[in-house]
Structures are given as C-alpha cells and as structure tokens.
C-alpha cells in the first residue's frame, strides 16, 4: 500500500493510483516555510535586472501611448480599410492569455482536479495581469480617448444610452466582469495565506500591511465555512466567464459582416485559442518560476506534463477550427469567403498565415511525445511558438480579413508603425513587471489548497501510519 493513495481505504490497483503531485517530503510546515517565507527574503540581483528590463519596456510603451494621445490614432498604422490592427490584436491576445488562469482556478476546481492547486494562484494572477494589459486597449484605441468613458452607460442629462446592440459594449461588460470576478476570486484565495504571513512575520510594517489585507482572518471554523462557500460560488461564476468572455470578444468579429469574420465557429474557436495561448504563457512562466524560486517539488514535472497535454489538446482543436474555416469557405460557395480564406494562405500576408499554422498546429504536435513534454527546451520552444502563433492568428483574422473585403477598390496594404510595436512591447513590460512583483510580494502558491492535497491532509480510515 502506498502512502499517497490517500483517498480510499483498502487496496487500490496500481493503475488507479494517482501519481504524486509533490516531489519529496512535503509537510504543511515545510510548505509554509517554502512559500510564505519567500516574500520576506531579499530578491537576488537577477530579479532586479529582470525588473529593470520589464520596466524599461513598460515605460517605452507608456511613452508611445502618450505620443498616441498627443497625435492621434494616425501614429499607428491603421488606415481604411484596416481600421483595427495592432490595437485589437493586442486586446484579444491579452484577454485570451488570461483564460488559462481562470480555467485552472475555476473550472478545474469544480472538476476537483487536484493538480490545479499548486498552480492556480499564479495562473489566476497571470489572468488578472493579462486582463489589465488587455483593458488598456479599448481605452487607448478610441480616436478620442478622453471621452472613452462614454462607453459606460451612466446617467446623464442628455438622455443618452449606449448602444447595447454593439458587441463592443458587450465587451465592456464582459471584460469588466471578468476582471472584477477574477480579482475577487484571486483575492479571496489569498486571504488565508496572507493571514498566515501576518502571523509569521516579524517586521512591523509587513504585519500592518498583512493585517489590513487579511481582513481579520482568524482561521475560525465559521471563517472557513464562509470561505469555502464564497470560493465555490466565485469558481462557479468564473467558470461561466471562461466560456463567455472570449465568446463575447469573438462577437466583435462574428456579428459583423466582414467576410472571414462572420462565422459561427468563432466563439468556440476563440475560447479554445484563448485557453491554448493562456496555457502556453503559464507553462513558460511556471518553468522559470519553479527554477528560480526553488519550487520544483510543488510545481512538478507532472504539472508541466498535464499542462502540455492541455496545450496539445487545444492545438488539435485549433487545427480542427482552421480546417473548418477552410471547409466552410469552400462549401459556402461564397466568393468573398473563399477569397478571404485563400488570402490567408496565398495573399499579401500569406507569410503570417503560414506562421500561424506552423506555430499553432504543426509545431505543438511534438508534444505527443512524452519526452518533449518533459523537456524544458521543447516546452519553452513550443510555448513561445504558440504565443507568437496566437498573436499572429489574431493578426491574420483582423488584418487579412479587413485589408481585402467586399469592394476591391478599397483594398489597401497595412503597415504597422514603430508606435504599434512600442505599445505591444509596453504591454509585455507591464505584464512581466506585475509578474515579477507578484512573485516577490505575495505567496505564489496557495498553501491552504496544497495542504489539502498533501498525503497527510486526507483523513485515513484505519490506515497504517507509516509514511
């Protein structure tokens, strides 16, 4: 009988025994010491160098955004007919990246998948940071950003409502809901850990801060009861959001008349793509985190293995989606759709189309091999490829469809400007700055949740007490 077959009494067949989710001996105490004490340690020099790099990127982006405010959207490459380009590509890209976190946090919680516990908090934090990056774009991409607040239906004396039929407005609600629910969910999960830190820390300043953030958590049974209920509710809410938010974002395209956008496959296609891109980013970040923060025993190769399998599954779904697009274009006998599809693979931006296909479908197939799923090199290579591929997929959807639609007289070539690239760089800067700060300031692993899946955590009924 193996010590970590913790759930059921009696003999359990080998095949049904879940592989361990921790490496080596992990007790609640050692877990606390490993994770909760981390924020109290001084960051190494590499962290500062990393932060310097990300801050540089962030401020570059801010500079370019300021330039855009000052000059106008003309500072970008957008034109007629490509009215949306990097701005909306980046928006969809970042919203998409956030979906992995919520899936891991919420959906896998409801499915009782224990492997999510170690990575849920980091993934959820990445969701919040990704949504923060995404939210920048609706605000800055408008021609008159000082009036961006008109997108919100607030009471006014002009008797003006916003247009609820517009998908952009659905975006406003969806993304705001997504951000607020994710934030609450994440914060709720943090409370017990912050309370632990409050109780452990010796620094007065830290204790004050943690006291405020812990909201008076004392670990009482009633607290735990409320906590579990709230957590379950928020997980339920967030689950819906995983599917709805990116579907609503896809409605920006699917409800329009643009050939290549107006397709019913978009909502599931986008959601799958979001999960795909999000998991890739999570894998990339977690590989770095487990190495630099000595969390290899908690974020195990098994975790990475499972996440890579999800990436592979999503890649297959994406492959199916692309094939369906092609099939639809042919089957529809609609020449606009047909031209739109052929344009992706043979047009001006055909290189982007092929880049997308390679990075998103062809290269991730390597993950069929177990060795690849266990190899840092392949994981990171494929994850970077997926990130690039998913960015380019939005480029393909937006720019390629727009630049050649119904009337050939309006067909024009789109060329991005340095400002476009600068702002994209800035969002990566913002994202990784927040990740770096989060890693040092808050506990990156939900210790309460991991404690719940440790071998000692589950009640043993009449079990041997040897370890």
């Amino acid at each position: 009988m193996r010590a970590d077959a913790a759930n059921l009494p009696g003999d359990i067949p080998e095949g049904l025994i879940e592989p361990s989710l921790t490496v080596g001996k992990v007790t609640p105490g050692s877990l606390d010491d490993q994770v909760l004490a981390f924020p109290e340690t001084r960051p190494p020099k590499q962290w500062y160098i990393g932060l310097a790099i990300t801050l540089t990127a962030l401020f570059t982006g801010l500079g370019f955004i300021g330039y855009t405010f000052f000059t106008g959207i003309g500072a970008w490459g957008n034109n007629s007919p490509v009215f949306w380009a990097f701005d909306i590509i980046n928006f969809v890209f970042w919203v998409g990246i956030g979906h992995a976190g919520t899936l891991i946090s919420a959906i896998l919680f409801l499915f009782r998948k224990r492997w999510r516990n170690a990575i849920a908090r980091f993934a959820e934090a990445m969701t919040i940071f990704a949504v923060m990056c995404a939210v920048i774009f609706p605000l800055i991409h408008v021609g008159r950003p000082w009036l961006a607040f008109w997108l919100f239906p607030y009471p006014n004396q002009r008797a003006l409502w916003t247009n609820f039929r517009s998908p952009l407005l659905w975006d406003v609600f969806a993304v705001n809901t997504y951000f607020s629910v994710s934030l609450m969910f994440w914060y709720l999960g943090l409370i017990p850990d912050i309370a632990s830190m409050r109780d452990r820390t010796t620094s007065r300043l830290r204790r004050t801060i943690y006291t405020v953030l812990a909201l008076g958590w004392r670990g009482a049974a009633s607290h735990w009861q409320h906590y579990e209920k709230a957590y379950l509710l928020l997980a339920g809410l967030a689950t819906g959001l995983v599917l709805s938010v990116h579907s609503v974002v896809s409605f920006d395209f699917a409800t329009s008349v643009v050939p290549g956008w107006h397709m019913t496959i978009f909502p599931p296609y986008f959601v799958a793509g979001a999960i795909f891109a999000g998991f890739a980013m999570v894998v990339m970040v977690l590989v770095v985190v487990r190495e630099t923060m000595q969390l290899k025993n908690l974020i195990t190769m098994r975790h990475l293995d499972v996440m890579n399998k999800v990436i592979l599954a999503m890649s297959c779904i994406m492959g199916y989606s692309y094939m369906m697009e092609g099939f639809t274009a042919w089957y529809s006998m609609n020449e606009y759709l047909h031209h739109g599809f052929m344009n992706i693979i043979t047009g001006t931006y055909g290189w982007a189309g092929w880049l997308t296909i390679s990075c998103n479908i062809l290269i991730p197939q390597i993950l069929w091999f177990k060795k690849a799923r266990a190899s840092y090199f392949w994981m990171i290579f494929i994850a970077i490829g997926v990130t690039i591929g998913m960015w380019f997929e939005r480029f393909v959807i937006i720019v390629i469809s727009l630049h050649q639609d119904y009337l050939p007289s309006a067909w024009r070539v789109y060329r991005p400007t340095m400002t476009d690239f600068g702002i994209l760089l800035g969002t990566f800067g913002l994202f990784f700055t927040l990740v770096l700060i989060f890693a040092r300031v808050l506990p990156v692993i939900a210790t309460t949740e991991v404690k719940a899946i440790l071998p000692d955590a589950q009640p043993h009924h009449g079990d041997d007490h040897h370890a």
């Binding site: 959207i73 009215f83 021609g143 952009l168 643009v258 119904y406 009337l407 050939p408």
Partner: protein, 1004 residues
C-alpha cells in the same frame, strides 16, 4: 457659486478657478462664510457621529468647498475647448450681407481658352462654393472640377498681398512709378516692350490691349498657354488660315471619332452634358451614339469608348488620312485642292488582324455623315489635327463648331522671344498671369535671356518661378475679386467680383490702364468703368447692365461655323503623316488633371483629387504600358530615369493598362519650385517638351531605364480588378435589349427585424453609370461643400484619404486593352446599415427620412463602423487634419457643415444641410418639396447628370422612376444592407458584328 471676480479674466476666455486661492479667497471672507448663519458664531463639533473629534481649523464647509473646487478644476481642465474665439454680431452690417443667408453671384472663370460661366455661393461675404451658371444655355449649371476647386485659391496663403520691388514690399505708387518710368523710357527710345499674357478670351481685355498698343506702338504681345497644344494652333493656321476655338456639339453627333481627344475629361461641361443626355437611355430602342477612340495613353474619354484601339500618337495622322482616303473612295466629296496621294490605301498596319474594325469605322463615319465628328487631342501632332479638320470638312460635320480666336504663341514664338531677349532687343518685359520660366522647355536659356532685359515686371496671383526673375511684382486680384467678360458660343458672359479684394491687389487690367495713362493715352482709372462703358454701348435693347450682371450673361445667337477648310494644306501634312514611324519609346506630355499646366499646383484640393485613370495623387509618375513594363522589368512604383535629348528626370513609374505599346505618358504641371503646397510635388516635365510646335508634346526617342528604389505611391486605389464580383455592371446594347439583369438574380432578403417605416420622405439616389465618365467633378464638389479635409501625400499613401465620394475605376479583360468602368461610391445610406448596429455609443443612427446620420460630437472613434461598412465609405480622422488651418484657409469652409476634429468618423450625409435648408424653406412657404429642389453637391456638380437625388416615396419623382429601370441594380445587395442608392448599368455600343472594346486589338 461666487460672483465672477475681475481677476477671473475677461468674459471671452472663461476660466474657472485656476488656483484654489481664487476659490477660497481671503481669510476675511472665509471667516465671514463661517459666520453665515449668525455673526460671530464658531462652528460647533458636528462630527460626533463617529465619535471622532472635529478637525480644528477646517470646517466641513471648507472641506466640501475644496473637494468641489478640485473636482471642478479637474473637470474644467478636461473641458478646455480648443480654439474658442469670440462671436461678435455686426454693429454696422454691410448692406449685402445677412448672416446665415447665402448670396449667389454670377461670374466666370477662365482657364486657357476655356471659359466657365459659374455661380458663386457666398456666405458672410466670402465665396465658399462654385457651381455652373444655370442660366447659361451651354453649360446649364455645370462646370469643371478645376473651376470648382479654384475657390480655394482665393484664400491661398501664398498669394502676394502687396507689391514688391527687388524683394521688398512697397506701395502701389512706388511700384507703378517704376513700371511707368521704364515704359515711358522705352517708348521714348523707341525700343520694343515684350508683354506675355495668357490667352485673350475677353473682348474687353482685347480692346484694352489694342488701346495699349496704340499708346505703345512697339509693344510685342504673346498669348502663351502651355496646355493649349501648340500643334493645334499650327494646324488651325494651316487648315483655316487663322486661329480657331473649336467646340464640339455632341447633341448632334451620332458617331464620334476621337484621335487622342480627351473631350470627356471634365474640362468641357457642355460636351459632357450632351454626352450624358445621349447615354442615359431608358429603353434599348432609344437612340445612342457611338464613340470610337484611337489613342496612345489611356484617357478618360478612352475609358468611355465603345471601341478603343491603342495606337501610337505619331501614327494618328496617318490613320486619319487613311480614313479620309477610304471615305473619298466611297464617294464622299473632298475639299478642293486636297492631295492624299502620299497616303497608302487599305487598313493601317497597326490594325492588321482586325480589319473588321476598320471597315466598321469607315462605315459608321460614312453613314453618319453630317452627324459624325472627328476630334483631335490638343497635344497630338499637327498632322493628326489637320487630318481631323479634313475629315470634318469632308463629312460636313454639324457636330463641331468654331469661332475665330486670338492666336496663341507656340514654343517657337517663345523661343524667338528668348532669342530676342538674349540679344537685348527689349527694353522691358511684362509677364501677366503666365509662368514661362516654369513652362518653357529650356529653363536655363530662359533665365539667362530674361536677365538681359533691363526692366522686368510681373503681374500675377502668387510668386512663382517667373516672378523670381522680375524686379517689380504687382499682385493681381483673383478672378473672384475681378471684373471681366468673355465670349462663349451661346452667350456673352460677364465676370464680376464676389468679394471685395482681400489684400492690396488690383486688376491686371488696371495696371495696364495706368500704363496707358502714363503713356499719354486716355483711360478710366477703374477697369469696372472701362468694362461697363464698353458693355453699355453694345448691350442689346431692353437689357440693362444690372440685368446682365444678375444673369451673368447675355444670350447671343451665334452662328459659330468653322471657317472654310483649305484643301491645299493637306498635301504637306499627309506627307508628314505618311512618313511617321512609331519606333522606340514615344513620350506624350499632357496637362495634368490636377495641375493643368501647373497653375493649380498649389491647390491642395486638386492635388489630392485622384487622377481619374491612375488614381494617383500628389505626384506625376510616368505611365508605362503593360508590355513595355514587362520588357524592361519595371514594376509599380519603381524609380526610373526618363531621358530625352539631354533632359533627364528621375521619377516613379506606374503600369498603365490600355496604354499603347511603345508609348509613355507623363503629366505636365508638377515639379514646381514655389508655393507652400506645390513645392517639390512631382517632377517638372516641361524640359522634355520639344521646340517644334508640330509635335511639341509627342516626342519620339525617349529612353527609360530602372533607376533603383521604389516609391510608396500616394494612390487612392491600389487594386484594379473586380475579381469577378458583381460590382459594376456594363451592358452592350444587345444585352440591354434582351437581358439587362444578366445572370444576376435579385437576392431574396429575409430579415428577422421589422423594416423601418418612413412616414414622410425617403431620400434615395440613382447613379447612371452610362452617363458617369469618371471626371471626378462630384469629388471636388463634395469636398468644397462639406469641408472635407486634405491629408497630404504620406497619409494618402497610408490609405487615409478623406473623400466622402470616390470614383472606383476597374479594368476588365486583358490589360493591354481592357474595358474600363467607373463607379462613384459614397455612403449608401443603407436601411439596414451594418455600421449603425455596431457603434457602442450610438453615434450613428437612421433618420426617419432614410438618412444614415453621423453625430460627430458623440463619436469616440472606435472605428467599428468603418470595419462593418462593406462599401468602405466611412472616413476616419486619424490625425488632426484641420488643426494647422488658420485664416485665410479657414475662410473657404462652409459654415453649414461641422469641421470634424481628430478621432471622429465622417462620411457622406446626402448633404443633409441642403435637405434641411429646403425643408425649412418649404415649411415656411407652406408647400411640399418639389422633385429636384434638393440637389446634393455631387448631383449639382455632375456635368453629365449621372447622379439623381430625390424622394423615393414620391412615385412621380425622377428617382422613383429610375429605380424601376430595367438596368437598375444595387451593389452588394445580397448582404441585406438595403442601400438607398441604385445604380443603372453602364452601356456600351460597339458595332454589332464583333469588334468591341474589351479584348480589342492591341500590339503585344
């Protein structure tokens, strides 16, 4: 809220509290505020609710005051409205001007030999919009795109505002005394004085020049028009013995043969009106004309041809004389003395395989007889012109008329002048409204020669290359500030000022009147007096001068018949033609659509209006035929060197479908070196012109080579094929008769939503593509009416031009000789508009009378509407395109239309300001709106009446009837957007037995 204090600033620039000190004021007032309820009381401890002690020295009132002040401060800073000025009503109103009510003045615009009778709309005393004079029986209210755009030049900031002498600003007294001194001295010494002016189309100006000549006998006058075509002048002298101003009368033409003649390019609104009337067929049985075009470069007229054959321009004469020979063989009488012996009979070599085409052409001309006309392009070689004159004479064509005209100087005359100047012949030179320093082919020779003339004076609108070489510069009135008169075929036309002079300028004529007086002659001080004096003597009985000014014209019964044709002139020309060979590359230099001869290069509206064929703006690339480009390995935008007899240009090349093999085409009027807008735009092609007027604009022996590098072309259209989509329909007469809808079925539109009901009116438009020639007058009219901004070449290259209406031009078939179609595309005002649903802030909505409205002040600029418009007619202000504008440029704006700021979408509004104007007027007069009473700017500007606007709910309206036409269709109808604009398919009338324009003959 406190009372406004003096230190808050004057009323015009309202500021709120700039510092909190202003808000909180003095300590005394603060204390006094605390004592509001009871003098001397101190605020008690109110904050005992939460058990917290009251904060001393800081009452709740102050706190709220601070908070609100901060909030107001923040809000105010955010609310700072740029460009706020002061609106002050008249205290003494000028008699003519009623704010808000437009005045219309009849006047006239001259460009070269052409006269455009116009109606000028002024608001608050400023001309803002030009249309044709509706009283003129010829133009019938239409005018050319450049005439419409010239209102911008009135407000050109580069205009010379005061006289200059040796570069310093001086007063008129000093400048004129210099001029008079020089001329008096010249007269005393008996030395000739050179005067170069533009074409003299004005009888009063002609009389004035005669008076001047009387006062100064040694005056040598040249009338120089670089765009008039020297060969045309030479041909007229040879064929008729005098200079002739030709006017086609297309109403009488059943068959038109164009030898490179671009008579449909918008310069001749009368011709376009007749063309439109002939092509806007209701039934297939109605009579239609047939247009044959033989030309080298693809012209707008060529795109509208029923049959087009690309041929080298140098061979046009030979082909036309061969036609004459064929006709003579068929028994058509030749004028006495005609000798066609040097012309060989039979089908010309160029048309080898397609002899059917030739025989059809001959048959058409023969059958049409008096109702046929042969027109020759002004820039074509002299023998082509002479052949055209011969053919018209043989056919006895009634479809062409002409009047004796004042002779124009050719390059040869100018060259003689150069030599005279270099030899020190002239004591003084005066340049009046001409720019020979730019337009004379040998610029350096000109410069050296001019420097040898002791006294040089210049009279003109803005300093140009010629002015740079003159000592005394005399600024002239713009024609909108001037008096004048002109003779047209059907009326004597008057030009009157529509605004008092903006700057210290004068009539050029008044300068000369001053000269006459200085030389001892009699002349009134003002040109107005001079003109009125002449007119009052010759007005017909019962017409007052005031009435003539009101109408802008006096109608005349003109028997403008062509002078007698001299058969003896044929022999020499025919020999020349027979000897012509098309070898190597032949360069055709033609006046640019936007710039004409270069005078309009500083007009940003025109520079940005795309050339109707190439869709190029802000540049003059050399057009290369598809075959030559392939042979030389040239691609669109490649830089090339174009050299001819020592002059070399480096410029971009574009491929031109339909251009004859071996022919290069390049527009004149670019490459100016003066003018804020014009400077550095394009390349100056004049150095490539020849000094032989017989073929100054068609030059053989050009050489073209790749120069390395590629230019980002400022082109409004970069894709020229319809890709098999049903966008522009073109029918032959046969198809029109039997199957006007072709294989297209009207799509069955199913909607979940209820259709919107339109209780009173439903505005709609019909555009007849058979009448639309692509002249782009509608584009300029719309820009003028709706304050459409100009964005500049870099922005056009990026795809951000702002025109609300554009003309899409597609090539069909083989590129060597394609069928070309034009389609004006503007907001379709769809009943189920895809753009309306997707605007998150409701900035675009559908009005109860069918208009798609755009609320500029609500638009935040998400640009979703632009994406969702399948016609891509929405325009976004990517940058602040109007921020740099100050007076005088802003004076041209139409006050009835908002000027849009950056970040806002705009598009065609069906000229809603005009619709509302008429609605208000009709309501005030308690009557219904008449059909045709509302004219959109594009409809009013279209010379061939291709655009019709009206109320679709009125069954008797023209639009309602046209919508039911057999060749009516809507673009992208299957999308279910329900556009309010219906198009009528284009019509082509090729000969029934095969020879057609598409896939027609060409050299491969």
């Amino acid at each position: 809220m406190k009372t406004r204090l003096p230190e808050h600033g004057p009323v015009e620039t309202p500021r709120f509290w700039r510092t909190l000190d202003e808000r909180i004021e003095t300590p005394e007032a603060q204390r006094a505020a605390q004592d509001e309820f009871l003098p001397g009381a101190v605020p008690g401890p109110f904050d005992d609710v939460h058990g917290l002690p009251p904060q001393s020295g800081f009452s709740r009132r102050d706190f709220l005051g601070l908070v609100s002040a901060t909030a107001a401060l923040a809000a105010t800073v955010a609310c700072d409205r740029k460009g706020q000025g002061t609106v002050v009503p008249y205290t003494r109103r000028p008699v003519e001007i009623v704010p808000g009510v437009a005045n219309y003045y009849a006047s006239a615009f001259q460009e070269g030999r052409r006269v455009y009778p116009v109606l000028v709309k002024t608001r608050e005393g400023r001309p803002i919009h030009i249309t044709g004079n509706d009283e003129h029986p010829g133009v019938k209210g239409k005018t050319s795109p450049r005439a419409m755009a010239d209102v911008l030049r009135l407000y050109d900031p580069d205009r010379l505002r005061a006289p200059k002498a040796e570069g310093r600003t001086v007063g008129w007294a000093e400048a004129e005394s210099r001029l008079h001194g020089a001329l008096v001295a010249a007269k005393a010494a008996g030395r000739p004085v050179l005067l170069i002016s533009g074409a003299v189309a004005s009888p009063t100006r002609k009389a004035l020049l005669a008076d001047l000549k009387a006062a100064l006998p040694a005056l040598e006058h040249l009338a120089f028009e670089p765009a008039a075509g020297d060969a045309a002048e030479e041909a007229a002298q040879a064929s008729f013995g005098q200079s002739v101003d030709l006017q086609p009368r297309l109403a009488k033409a059943k068959v038109i043969l164009s030898l490179g003649a671009d008579f449909l390019n918008g310069e001749d609104p009368e011709a376009l009106g007749a063309w439109g009337a002939k092509r806007r067929l209701k039934n297939a049985k109605d009579e239609i004309n047939r247009l044959w075009v033989l030309e080298g470069p693809l012209t707008l007229t060529g795109t509208n041809a029923d049959v087009r054959v690309p041929v080298s321009p140098s061979r046009l004469g030979a082909m036309a004389y061969a036609l004459a020979k064929e006709l003579a063989a068929k028994g058509v009488a030749v004028p006495a003395g005609t000798d066609l012996s040097s012309i060989s009979a039979g089908v010309p070599a160029e048309l080898g395989e397609t002899s059917k085409l030739w025989s059809n052409l001959v048959k058409d001309l023969h059958r049409a007889g008096r109702n046929a006309v042969v027109l020759c392009g002004a820039q074509m070689p002299v023998e082509a012109h002479q052949a055209a004159h011969l053919l018209n004479a043989m056919l006895g064509s009634e479809a062409i008329s002409g009047r004796a005209a004042e002779p124009l100087a050719t390059v040869r005359d100018l060259d003689a002048a150069v030599q005279g100047m270099a030899a020190g012949r002239y004591a003084a030179a005066i340049f009046w409204d001409v720019n020979p320093a730019f337009a004379f082919p040998r610029a350096s020779a000109w410069k050296e020669a001019v420097a040898k003339v002791p006294f040089r004076a210049w009279i003109g609108l803005m300093e140009d290359e010629t002015a740079a070489q003159c000592q005394v510069l005399l600024p002239e009135n713009h024609w909108l500030e001037s008096w004048g008169d002109f003779t047209t075929g059907s009326a004597e036309v008057l030009q009157q000022p529509t605004i008092g002079t903006l700057y210290d300028t004068r009539h050029g004529e008044e300068v000369l009147l001053g000269v006459i007086r200085a030389l001892g002659g009699h002349a009134p001080a003002s040109y107005h007096a001079y003109l009125q004096g002449r007119w009052q003597k010759s007005l017909p009985l019962g017409t007052s001068f005031e009435q003539a000014l009101h109408d802008g014209l006096v109608k005349i019964e003109s028997k403008a018949a062509l002078p007698a044709f001299r058969g003896a002139s044929v022999a020499a020309a025919a020999r020349r033609a027979a000897g012509s060979k098309a070898e190597g590359l032949e360069l055709v230099l033609f006046p640019g659509f936007a710039t004409h001869d270069g005078r309009h290069a500083n007009n940003s509206w025109l520079q940005e209006t795309p050339d109707p064929i190439t869709k190029m703006t802000w540049d003059n690339p050399v057009s290369v035929s598809v075959q030559d480009a392939k042979a030389l390995g040239i691609q669109e935008g490649d830089f090339v060197t174009l050299s001819l007899e020592g002059a070399t240009l480096r410029l971009p090349a574009i491929l031109q479908p339909g251009q004859a093999k071996g022919v290069l085409a390049l527009a004149l009027g670019y490459g100016r070196s003066t003018g804020g807008v014009a400077k550095g735009v394009g390349a100056n092609a004049y150095p490539l012109m020849g000094l032989d007027p017989a073929s100054a604009n068609v030059r053989p022996g050009a050489r073209l080579a790749k120069a390395g590098g590629k230019k980002d072309l400022s082109r409004t259209q970069s894709h020229h094929r319809m890709e098999g989509r049903d966008i522009v329909r073109s029918l032959t007469m046969d198809e029109f008769a039997h199957n006007p809808q072709g294989h297209h079925h009207k799509p069955e539109l199913v909607s979940l939503y209820e259709d919107q009901t339109f209780p009173d009116h439903k505005w709609g438009m019909v555009i007849d593509l058979a009448a639309c020639v692509g002249c782009s007058a509608c584009v300029v009219a719309c820009q003028s009416e709706n304050n459409v901004p100009v964005v500049g070449p870099e922005q056009v290259a990026r795809g951000r031009e702002m025109h609300w209406i554009r003309i899409d031009r597609y090539y069909e078939g083989e590129l060597e000789n394609p069928k070309v179609v034009h389609q004006p595309m503007l907001c379709q005002h769809c009943d189920s508009a895809p753009c309306e649903n997707v605007c998150p802030v409701n900035a675009t909505s559908h009005s109860p009378d069918g208009l798609n409205q755009m609320a500029y002040n609500r638009c935040v600029g998400t640009r979703y509407c632009g994406n969702n418009c399948p016609y891509k007619v929405r325009r976004f202000n990517f940058l602040e395109y109007t921020a740099y504008k100050t007076e005088p440029e802003t004076l041209v704006n139409n006050p009835e239309v908002t000027v849009r700021p950056r970040g806002v979408m705009e598009k065609c509004s069906f000229c809603v300001q005009r619709i509302n104007d008429v609605k208000i007027r009709a309501k005030g007069e308690a009557r219904a709106i008449l059909d045709g009473e509302i004219t959109t700017a594009c409809m009013a500007g279209c010379p061939s009446d291709a655009i019709v606007f009206g109320d679709l709910k009125d069954p008797k309206s023209k639009v309602a009837q046209l919508v039911a036409a057999s060749r009516a269709y809507r673009v992208l109808e299957e999308l279910g957007a329900k556009p309010a604009i219906t198009y009528l398919a284009d019509l082509k009338n090729p000969p029934p037995n095969g020879a057609s324009s598409e896939g027609g003959p060409h050299a491969s």
